[in-house]
């Protein structure tokens, strides 16, 4: 952690804004898919997991029953897996349902280079052949390195590559508490994931 003094921070969403944005995204998902489409939300570990849980609750409230929830860990699918140091803390992918014929909505917190999404798509495909895969993200910060786009976007923000986007989760209720952009760090993180 670098000290706050070297990193001017701007808050781009607070808890209320996040709640409103997720509500809108849930509405978009309902509007796009009729009731006879079986939906599954798959949170990308780890930032996407609380968001997938929130969207699931909102979809249920909106009358969409039987939406399934899973998680996917992309460690083994990273395009730098063979050259990066091994990650001793691989998370478990849990997709306890058939993806065959379903619309799978990948849920992540920040869309950046698109490499994580590419890896997550490959991981889901190894469980079967979904009818479609869509992408829902809380924040799209730009700077894509692959042809990837989101179907549901909470907020688009302009950033520089040297900035960091921090999504803070309230440990009490596991809801996203805020989204902040941290100013140029002296040592920008080398990993682009």
């Amino acid at each position: 952690m670098t000290t706050a003094s070297t990193q001017p921070t701007r808050v781009v969403m607070d808890k209320c804004a996040v709640a409103a944005v997720l509500q809108r995204m849930a509405g978009e998902i309902v509007a796009r898919h009729s009731d006879d489409v079986s939906l599954a939300l798959v949170g990308v570990r780890r930032g996407g997991i609380p968001l997938a849980a929130r969207l699931h609750a909102l979809l249920t409230t909106a009358g969409r029953a039987e939406v399934l929830v899973g998680t996917v860990d992309i460690t083994l699918y990273r395009d730098d897996a063979a050259t990066a140091l091994p990650n001793p803390q691989i998370g478990r992918s849990e997709i306890p349902f058939e993806v065959e014929g379903r619309v799978v909505i990948l849920v992540d917190d920040v869309l950046y280079t698109g490499r994580t999404t590419r890896a997550a798509i490959d991981a889901v495909m190894d469980y079967g052949r979904p009818r479609a895969i869509e992408l829902a993200v809380l924040v799209d910060r730009g700077h894509r390195e692959l042809p990837v786009q989101a179907d549901y976007v909470g907020l688009r923000i302009a950033t520089t590559r040297r900035e960091r986007v921090e999504v803070r989760v309230d440990p009490q209720d596991e809801h996203v508490a805020s989204v902040e952009v941290l100013g140029p760090a002296e040592n920008p993180p080398s990993s682009v994931y």
């Binding site: 063979a82 001793p88 691989i90 469980y127």
Partner: protein
């Protein structure tokens, strides 16, 4: 592994933290083996060489499947087809393999310490797949993985290991690993197959199977290694089966929920009766299944390290 584990040569130098790391990582790969597509792209472009100077079907196949499920290129070299039978030294073999830039070399050799020797002469990560009467670390890891899945934990379990203790690298690696994770390990064999000084490993020593099995949570049977017996250490196979064979009556002395293990190959009717080996408490085939997941974890954790650091 914090960059600390470049090779897996034995359990002896492996701290409990690293053992648990291997087991936890294996849980993830166990899940991969139950999916529709039993393969991940993780080690694409990496090369794993299985270098077997001793016969093995189970272990070599297990490593081969593990490597392939990680998308590594796996090459099998066995002694009968290699230049070793033409008189090449171990060092020359290693130098030639090294020139082909493998990332991991899996070695089985009848000489204790051969994998350690190879590790000193290659940039690749080296996995000991059994060296003489010394160690067989991946077998111990897969046994621990199987026990942990069946019992939920390892600490405080009573584990009986019975068989050719003197010649068994499986017994040695298991005793080291299980005591390190807090199990109470008993070893059992005829006195002629019990080397002196076993107590230094923190195990209880028995020369009769009944008392050794009494109240055990896990009963692990090993075969007599006739290929390593240079003198008559047991009166006869029939005599051994009668006194040291695990049958249903003997198993009744263990805990009611005790599990039965065997690393294979089994000699049915000698160290283990068929109805015990195939019975409801046998986890022998679970061990084989665990072997692939554990070896995937070992290859994964070693492969990315390999080739990046200088010779040890």
């Amino acid at each position: 592994m914090n960059g600390s584990v470049r090779h897996l040569l034995g359990i002896e130098d492996l701290p409990a933290r690293d053992i648990v790391q291997f087991l936890d990582t294996a849980e993830v790969f166990f899940g991969v083996s139950t999916r529709r597509v039993r393969k991940v792209p993780t080690l694409r472009g990496k090369t794993v060489i299985n270098l077997f100077f001793e016969a093995s079907t189970r272990t070599r196949t297990s490593f081969e499947i593990a490597g392939k499920r990680l998308s590594a290129d796996v090459v099998n070299i066995s002694v009968s087809t290699s230049s070793v039978s033409k008189g090449e030294t171990l060092l020359d073999t290693v130098k030639n393999l090294e020139a082909m830039h493998p990332d991991v070399i899996v070695v089985r050799h009848s000489a204790s310490g051969a994998p350690h020797f190879i590790a000193r002469h290659t940039h690749a990560g080296v996995v000991n797949a059994g060296d003489g009467m010394h160690e067989h670390p991946t077998q111990a890891l897969l046994d621990a993985f199987t026990i942990r899945r069946a019992k939920g934990h390892i600490a405080d379990l009573v584990v009986t290991i019975s068989g050719d203790i003197a010649h068994s690298r499986v017994a040695r690696s298991n005793a080291l690993l299980l005591t390190r994770l807090g199990a109470k390990v008993r070893v059992c064999a005829p006195r002629t197959l019990l080397p002196a000084g076993l107590e230094q490993y923190g195990v209880e020593v028995f020369d009769a199977l009944g008392p050794a099995v009494e109240g055990a949570d896990v009963v692990m049977m090993l075969r007599i290694q006739h290929e390593r017996l240079t003198e008559a250490l047991i009166p006869s196979t029939r005599e051994y089966a009668r006194t040291f064979g695990l049958n249903r009556a003997m198993l009744a002395r263990a805990k009611p929920d005790a599990i039965v293990m065997h690393p294979g190959p089994m000699n049915r009717g000698v160290e283990i009766d068929a109805d015990v080996a195939d019975g409801p408490r046998s986890v022998i085939l679970d061990q084989v299944e665990a072997g692939v997941a554990v070896r995937m974890a070992v290859l994964y954790l070693l492969a990315a390290e390999a080739g990046q650091s200088p010779l040890a």
